[in-house]
Structures are given as structure tokens and as C-alpha cells.
């Protein structure tokens, strides 16, 4: 078939890129080869627009066993234990079919983790939707939540933490980011680097169907007369099969049969075989007739590019085939040797004994294009918000507005749909700054959390980037964990637009600065560009997933007040930064202005001091202050605990709105009992930590001296009303 410009374009390739392909091959590619180039050279697989920026990120540290570049990142948590984790986006598929899109997103990230030998022990997610009153939002929200639950619940991995946010920027492009965390023995980690020639290349898992073949390219009628039949089909998740695949892989991993293993994710068989061969500087030869197919008459093109789920590619040691096959038979999964490693350094695809395509591996991997795309700096917001020019709002009124807003309303109607307890190691479920998962059969635990702040990043990408890393760090500290490392999912608009590329570059430089300062390296991640429609890009939304270590597990302190008559201490200084706050957004729809500045030195000192206090058992409760400021932080601690508070009139700021709703960074709220208050103050003072003693806990009233006194049960109701109303209204 003649490769026309139209076919090239349908494959998402630029004419320049096509010329590069011709040069690398020293001939024209055929359609199969073109499809393979298109899959490997697309943004998702090649990181062509992001790579030069990603390279600058800190990825090393004493705690890092494996940084970016493998299926997932690996960190050391002492003894022989390692934690393997990664976050990934499934934005576009979830917008098309929310249930299946979200489900296969969870399935994909789980495979990334167990491919490396880890048993998955926790799932997290960060999901962003359009405005609640947008006609598509309800269906997308409910579909995504059921999809995440459907997959995680069935496979039996607890979904323990996450965030759900609404903003009209996601009206036409929702974000569904899923993170998986697994545990492995350090001595039993599996990588994707092929070694040795003539080793068996084995296909295991589900059969290959025409799922998701090459998204953009297949709609063209020019390809084939039966084009209608060959439109890309939505991938359907099969958590049941994945559970079998998980158990079978872990069983096989008990000995040393496996040389290399790679999950067939995006671009399926193509990327998995290229990845393994490329890392080992080898070639790979596939006999496509042997690929287990779900449909009749599948072509080599379809087999190579299918994105059917729940499949893996394994390179086996000699003589291990029989044992391995037995294991996969036991679990009723396909196990077929479909090829071998070679010394040709080519990807060779045979079908019915004829070579249908042959491409040098390095042309697909190391020689893929890299772009230093033009980017421009964001101009800082000139707008300054002066509360004096706005209608005066009472504290209580402002609080109710925020508590009842979609973004701040209680999300237990979501978390109640996820099995958080299965595996019986969930020490802290949702409803805290971070979840805590015990390492099975040990006294150790990890804490995990995900965070994003798209409005901060939009307004000032560098500050925003710094802020998310710090908030994530704080969330781990608040539950008594030492933060170890992060994974990031970088959701951005169109990188060919220099403003968007600027948002990307600047967010990353903020992330980099914070990670370096906090010794909080990035060990894995994913970039998702082209979020948005033609002219309207989404807000830059980097999502950070963090993992921390609790070396000696105790009953978690949580974020709910424990007793009446305790002292309430705020660690970190309140400046009253009200721009970009949710107070202004919910009460005045003002979204201009700059985000709060993040002072890394304070952040680090405050965090380390708080962690020290928690480790010494001197605090009853801890909670980080983030979106919504002090008052929302206090509310979250109070209304779900049944314990009220009485806060004194602030001594340092005259404007109450700024004091209570300002979103200054680096702050924590601590509950300390009478017995320990002196010790706590002494430790804070001796470390030069700024803190305020703002009041005490009391029975059932949320009280701010001279300003408001509300029954916490009323505030509880207000915080839990939004979803009911939302469902009721849109059901009509």
C-alpha cells in the first residue's frame, strides 16, 4: 500500500518525522512499520516534548532503588523490603467511556507495579471533573467512581486515598489519574531489560482483540474497505483475569525463571517488545501467528498495535518453559512462546513464515524524536484583591459557603464505594491527610497520599509546582510518616503551544526545587499532554503521589480531635494570603491573583518539628492546613470527631477573613493535651519554630470568640449535603 500524506497524518506523525523514519530505515516503511513508528514515537511512549525537562528532575537518593525508566519506581524501606509505585493518567479513555476508562486505568497501573515483582497493597486516585452543572459531569463522575471501585474491589486491592475536584476547565477533558503501590522483597525485583540471545519470548494473560487499536489512526476509510468494522474499540477491563494474572506472575516470580518482564500497556505488543530489547541492546523476533487472538482474521498490524488489557510479555530462562506453563495453566491463562531474542538489534515480525516488518530497535527507542519546544514564562498576575473593596461577609457565612461547595463537601459517598479494608492491613482509611498501610507481617507501615493544586499552578506555575510537593510532604508528616519519594502525573494541554509548554517547564522547575530541598526524589511518573479541546487547554494539573515510611507502627493519630479541653496549636506562621483561596472563589467567584508563596526552609523545619512531636507521642491529633485555610482545617478536625472548639480572637492579624481563610503554606494544626503542652512548646521554641496557641477543644460547638458559635452537627450536615442535592437535581 502506498503511504500517503493522509495516512501519515492519520498516524499522528508529522511529515518531518516521516522523513526521519525513511532515513532511519533507508527505505519507505510499510503500513505495519508505520503503525509501529507511530505508536513508539507518539508523545505517550516517547516523551518527545517532555524529556528534556524531565531530565532535570531529581531522581536519586539513598532511598531510591530504581528511578524513572522502568515500569515503576522502587524505594528502599529498610530490611529486605521495597516499595514499588507509580501514577498514571487515563484521561481520554475515561472521557469517552467513564466506567471502562477508569477501570482500565486502574488495571494498567496495577500491572506496572506487579510486573516488577510487587504485590499491590494500595490504590489511590486523583480525579478532576468539569463544573458540577455541566451536563456531562454527573454521568462522568458516577461512571469513573464506579469504574475505579469496580476494578479495585474485584481484584482485591484496597483503594485507600484520593482526591476529587471540580473546575470548569475540565468540562471537555476530565482527568483520571490512578496510582498503585506495591510491596516486594528487595532481592526479588524484576526488570524489563532483556539478556541473552535465543531466549523464549512468552505471551501470557488475556487474548488479543481489536481493542483501542491506535486511537486516532483507524477511522480512515482509506486503510481498508472494511473500515467500519475496524474502528478502534473501547478497552474493557477484566479485573477477574487481572487477578489471575497477578497471582500467576507472583507465583512464577518465586524462583528465577524470569529474565525480563514487561506489561503490555499502551501500544501493547509493540512497546513491550521494543522496551525489553532496547534495554538489553538486543533484537527480538516475533511469530505473530502464535499470538492468542480473540477475534478471527486479525492482521499483524492489529496484533502489534492492539491495546487489549491484562497481558504481559516475559523473557524466560532456558529450560523453564514447562514449569512456567504449568503455573499459567493452573490459573487458566494463555501462555504461548511467540518469539525469541536475537542479536540483530531489530524488531522482526513474521507472520505465516514471511517477514512482514523489520525495524532497528534503536530507531524506535533511542532515536525517537526529541523536541525542545518553544516555551514562554508566565507573567505574574497583576490583579490584587483587596477585601475592603468587596461586600463584607461574616465568618460563619463564608465558612458555610466553602463547606457546602462541591470541592470541599464530604466525599465519603465516593470512598464508601471502594473497598478500603481488603488485605486487612489498612491502618488509616480515608478521612485523614494520608492513608496508612501496614507492610504485611511486620511492624512497619507506609503512608500514601495524592495531591494537586491546579489553580495555583495556573496562576503561577513555579509556586504551584513547589506548593504541591510541599503539601504532599505535609500530608505524610501529619500522619507521622517520614516522606521518602514521589511519583508524578503531569496533566497539561497542548505542548505545541508555547504558553502551555511554559506552564509545563515552570511547574517542573517548581517541583524540582521543592524535591531537591526536601530530599524527596521522583522515582516514576507519566506525562499526559493534549488535555483540552482545540483552543481551550486545561489548567496545568501536575498530580503528586507521595510515599512515606512509619518504621514503628502505632495506632494512628488521625485528623479528628480526640478530647475536650485540649490545646490547639498552629505550627507555622499565618500571613493571611487570600488570593487564589477557595474563600474568594466560593464567595465572590474571584479566581485572579497569585497563589501563596512556599518557603521551603520553613516548610522543612516545621515539618521535621511536627514529625518529631508525633514520634514522641506528644500530640493527640495532627492535620495539615491547605485549601480553605485554618478554619476549614479546624472544621475537618472537629465536625467528624464530635468534639467542638473555642478559638480565641487572633492576636496577629486584624482581618479575620484573611486570618481564617488565608492559604499560607507550611502550617499544621495540632491537638495537645494539658500534660504535654509545656513539652511541646519547649520543643517548638528550642527549634525556632513559629507557632500559635489559638484555643482549646470543647463540647459540640464550633466557636470563634466574639464571631461565631455553631453546633458542629449543623456544620456536619452542611458539609454532607452537596452530593444529595446534586444527584436529586440532575436526576429530574
Amino acid at each position: 500500500m502506498q503511504i500517503t500524506n493522509k495516512i501519515i497524518e492519520k498516524h499522528g506523525l508529522k511529515i518531518d518525522e516521516y522523513k526521519k523514519i525513511q532515513k532511519l530505515l533507508k527505505r519507505d516503511p510499510n503500513l505495519l512499520e508505520l503503525g509501529i513508528f507511530s505508536a513508539m514515537w507518539n508523545e505517550h511512549c516517547s516523551y518527545k516534548s517532555s524529556r528534556i525537562h524531565l531530565k532535570k528532575l531529581p531522581t536519586k537518593g539513598k532511598q531510591v532503588i530504581q528511578g524513572p525508566g522502568e515500569n515503576a519506581g522502587v524505594i528502599d524501606i529498610g530490611d529486605d523490603d521495597a516499595i514499588i509505585f507509580k501514577i498514571e493518567s487515563h484521561n481520554h479513555p475515561s472521557y469517552i467511556e467513564p466506567y471502562q476508562g477508569a477501570a482500565t486505568g486502574v488495571g494498567g497501573i496495577l500491572r506496572d507495579v506487579f510486573t516488577m515483582g510487587a504485590r499491590p497493597i494500595a490504590l489511590l486516585n486523583s480525579i478532576h471533573f468539569g463544573a458540577p452543572d455541566h451536563p456531562k459531569t454527573k454521568n462522568l463522575l458516577n461512571g469513573v467512581v464506579s469504574g475505579i471501585g469496580g476494578y479495585g474491589n474485584c481484584i482485591g486491592v484496597p483503594t485507600v486515598a484520593g482526591e476529587t475536584k471540580f473546575n470548569e476547565t475540565y468540562n471537555e477533558n476530565i482527568l483520571v489519574n490512578a496510582m498503585a503501590v506495591g510491596h516486594a522483597k528487595k532481592s526479588k525485583i524484576f526488570y524489563s531489560k532483556a539478556k541473552g540471545i535465543n531466549k523464549a519470548v512468552v505471551y501470557v494473560g488475556s487474548k488479543t482483540g481489536r481493542d483501542g487499536i491506535h486511537g486516532a489512526s483507524m477511522a480512515s476509510a482509506e486503510f481498508d474497505e472494511n473500515s467500519d468494522e475496524k474502528k478502534p474499540t473501547v478497552q474493557v477491563g477484566d479485573p477477574f483475569t487481572e487477578k489471575l494474572l497477578l497471582e500467576a506472575c507472583l507465583e512464577l516470580m518465586k524462583d528465577d525463571s524470569i529474565i525480563a518482564i514487561q506489561d503490555m500497556g499502551a501500544a501493547g505488543l509493540t512497546s513491550s517488545s521494543v522496551e525489553m530489547a532496547s534495554k538489553g541492546s538486543l533484537g527480538i523476533e516475533l511469530e505473530l501467528d502464535k499470538v492468542p487472538c480473540r477475534e478471527e482474521n486479525m492482521t499483524p498490524y492489529e496484533m502489534m498495535l492492539s491495546e487489549s488489557q491484562e497481558r504481559m510479555l516475559i523473557i524466560l530462562e532456558d529450560g523453564k518453559e514447562e514449569r512456567a506453563k504449568k503455573i499459567f495453566d493452573k490459573w487458566d491463562l494463555d501462555f504461548v512462546i511467540i518469539g525469541k531474542t536475537t542479536n540483530t538489534k531489530n524488531l522482526t515480525m513474521k507472520y505465516k513464515n514471511i517477514i512482514h516488518g523489520e525495524i532497528p530497535i534503536d530507531a524506535l527507542a533511542t532515536k525517537a524524536p526529541i523536541y525542545d519546544r518553544k516555551w514562554i514564562r508566565k507573567k505574574p498576575s497583576k490583579c490584587e484583591v483587596n477585601l475592603k473593596n468587596l461586600k463584607k461577609i461574616k465568618l460563619e457565612e463564608g465558612l458555610i459557603k466553602v463547606l457546602s461547595s462541591p470541592n470541599h463537601s464530604n466525599k465519603s459517598w465516593i470512598t464508601n464505594q471502594y473497598d478500603q479494608m481488603v488485605m486487612c492491613d489498612t491502618v488509616q482509611r480515608s478521612g485523614s491527610d494520608a492513608a496508612i498501610i501496614r507492610i504485611h507481617n511486620t511492624e512497619k507501615a507506609i503512608a500514601v497520599t495524592v495531591d494537586s493544586s491546579a489553580n495555583y499552578c495556573k496562576s503561577h506555575p513555579i509556586s504551584g509546582g513547589k506548593q504541591i510537593v510541599c503539601e504532599n510532604w505535609r500530608n505524610l508528616i501529619s500522619v507521622g510518616a517520614k516522606p521518602l519519594a514521589i511519583t508524578n502525573c503531569l496533566n497539561f494541554g497542548n505542548p505545541e503551544n508555547s504558553e502551555i509548554m511554559g506552564e509545563f517547564a515552570e511547574c517542573l522547575s517548581g517541583i524540582k526545587e521543592a524535591c531537591e530541598f526536601l530530599n524527596y526524589p521522583i522515582v516514576s511518573g507519566n506525562v499526559s499532554f493534549y488535555n483540552g479541546t482545540n483552543k481551550k487547554n486545561i489548567f496545568p494539573t501536575p498530580v503528586i503521589g507521595g510515599v512515606g515510611l512509619i518504621s514503628k507502627l502505632k495506632k494512628p493519630i488521625g485528623q479528628y480531635f480526640k478530647a475536650e479541653n485540649s490545646f490547639i496549636i498552629v505550627v507555622g506562621k499565618t500571613f493571611g494570603h487570600i488570593e487564589q483561596s477557595c474563600f474568594l472563589k466560593e464567595n465572590f467567584s474571584i479566581t485572579d491573583g497569585s497563589p501563596p508563596e512556599t518557603n521551603l526552609t520553613n516548610e522543612k523545619n516545621n515539618g521535621e518539628a511536627v514529625l518529631n512531636l508525633i514520634n514522641k507521642d506528644l500530640v493527640l491529633t495532627a492535620h495539615d492546613v491547605s485549601s480553605g485555610g485554618l478554619i476549614i482545617g479546624l472544621c475537618e478536625m472537629s465536625i467528624y470527631s464530635g468534639v467542638g472548639i473555642k478559638i480565641n480572637k487572633p492576636k496577629i492579624l486584624s482581618n479575620l477573613i484573611e486570618y481564617f481563610f488565608g492559604e499560607d503554606q507550611g502550617r499544621y494544626i495540632l491537638e495537645v493535651n494539658t500534660e504535654n503542652i509545656n513539652k511541646v512548646e519547649k520543643i517548638l521554641k528550642s527549634n525556632n519554630i513559629y507557632y500559635e496557641n489559638i484555643g482549646k477543644t470543647q463540647s459540640k460547638y464550633f466557636e470563634i470568640e466574639g464571631e461565631m458559635k455553631s453546633d458542629i452537627n449543623e456544620l456536619y450536615k452542611i458539609n454532607n449535603q452537596w452530593y444529595n442535592d446534586f444527584n436529586a437535581v440532575t436526576n429530574k
Binding site: 471501585g149 482485591g156 487477578k243 489471575l244 470512598t415 491502618v427
Partner: protein, 225 residues
């Protein structure tokens, strides 16, 4: 006491129950569903999870597996059988327990801690509990809405075969305390010989203070006696 936990493809609370049984000093074995003989056991547990992905109907396909014939034989010989969550669904599909588990009335998966009342404490599964004792247990299911015909319901009541009922924290059995719409707030039932217990809540999730509470322990300690 010897126990056997039957593992189906898609079972996912098998490890959890094994941990709980071993903690309570049972000598436990895991039995893969393709096996055709059962080791001699005092207790057989069918664990929670999504056997066969819950496809077709939850429990339906596991109910047709080879090992189930052995379970039925053992049950008829008086062996103690405990089905938790998906295990309860499987027991109803095999006919060892009557009734069925419909989709939750809110049509959503539910995972939360709920209160249940011990309706009968005179069985081998419940002797260590007090009558009407209120337990806090965790539920995690899509189909936990127990339903049975009125004739069988009468039998359940008359023969004292209701094991647990959902209640509020004060012990009131009412609609608000019913998480899934189960008839008469039924959370678990016995067969007429009271050697088979099927229940939706997970007692094995409640044996460790650090994770939750220890309200599930007495179910296992009742059995060990």
C-alpha cells in the same frame, strides 16, 4: 481445630481469613478449587472476594465448581461451614443456605463499618457472644441485600436461624441501619442444623486492634471450643 479455606479464582479475602484463623490457633489449609478431595476439617471457610469476577451472578459459577460437591458432602456430614460475603453468596447458589443476595438497594458497592446484633448466641459460631450483643463489623459488597420467601422467613424466625441483624449503634433494628436493603435487616443466617453460617459482614477484618477492632474474634473463639 483443623480448618480449610477454599480458594476460587477471584477470591480475595482468602489470605485475610487465613491470617485470622491462624491467629486464633486453627491449623489451616488453603484448598484450590480444582481439587477433588478435601482434607479432613472441622471447619470449612468459603472466603469473600469476587469468585469468577462475580460474572453471571455473584457466586453462581463457583457454586458449580468441582470442590463444591465435596463441601456439600462435608456439610451433610455435619462439618462446620462458614461463608463470608462472596462465600455466603456461593452457599446460597449451592442451595446449602436458602434465599439469595440481591443487589444493594442503592445499586452501589458499599464498604463501611456497620453495627450488627447477635440474634442467636446458642450456636457453635456464636456461643462466646452475648445475646443481643452489638458488634461493629465491616461490610464490602455489591450484592448483600438478603431476600427469601415469606415461608422461609417464618422458618428462619421460628427456628431461630437468623444469626446477625443490622442495627444502629444502640441496637435498634430499623431502615436507617440497614446498609443494603436486606429483608428484616438480616446480615447472616444458619441452616436448620446450624452447622452452616453465611454472613455478609467480614469478621476476619475485625481481629486486630491496630486495623479496626476485635469484635470478630469471638466468632472464631466460639468455634475453637
Amino acid at each position: 481445630m483443623k480448618s480449610s479455606v477454599i480458594v476460587f479464582p477471584g477470591s480475595n479475602c482468602d489470605r485475610d481469613i487465613a491470617v485470622a484463623l491462624e491467629k486464633m490457633q486453627f491449623k489451616n489449609q488453603m484448598i484450590w478449587h480444582k481439587e477433588t478431595t478435601l482434607p479432613k476439617s472441622d471447619l470449612i471457610v468459603i472466603p469473600g472476594g469476587f469468585s469468577y469476577g462475580d460474572y453471571l451472578r455473584s457466586g453462581a459459577i463457583a457454586g458449580k465448581s468441582l470442590i463444591i460437591d465435596e463441601v456439600i458432602k462435608a456439610a451433610n456430614d455435619g462439618c462446620l461451614i462458614l461463608g463470608i460475603c462472596n462465600g455466603f453468596q456461593i452457599l446460597t447458589e449451592t442451595g446449602l443456605l436458602k434465599g439469595t443476595l440481591l443487589r444493594n438497594k442503592n445499586l452501589k458497592f458499599i464498604n463501611k463499618d456497620v453495627h450488627v446484633k447477635v440474634t442467636n448466641n446458642k450456636t457453635k459460631f456464636s456461643s462466646k457472644y452475648k445475646i443481643n450483643q452489638i458488634l461493629k463489623l465491616n461490610v464490602a459488597h455489591n450484592e448483600g441485600n438478603y431476600f427469601t420467601d415469606s415461608f422461609h422467613l417464618e422458618t428462619l424466625k421460628k427456628e431461630n436461624l437468623i444469626a446477625f441483624q443490622y442495627c444502629d449503634k444502640f441496637g435498634n433494628i430499623n431502615n436507617q441501619a440497614n446498609p443494603n436493603g436486606a429483608i428484616q435487616n438480616i446480615a447472616g443466617i444458619y441452616n436448620s442444623k446450624k452447622n452452616i453460617l453465611g454472613m455478609m459482614p467480614h469478621p476476619e477484618r475485625m481481629v486486630d486492634k491496630l486495623i479496626s477492632n476485635t469484635d470478630g474474634i469471638n466468632l472464631f473463639s466460639s468455634l475453637i471450643n
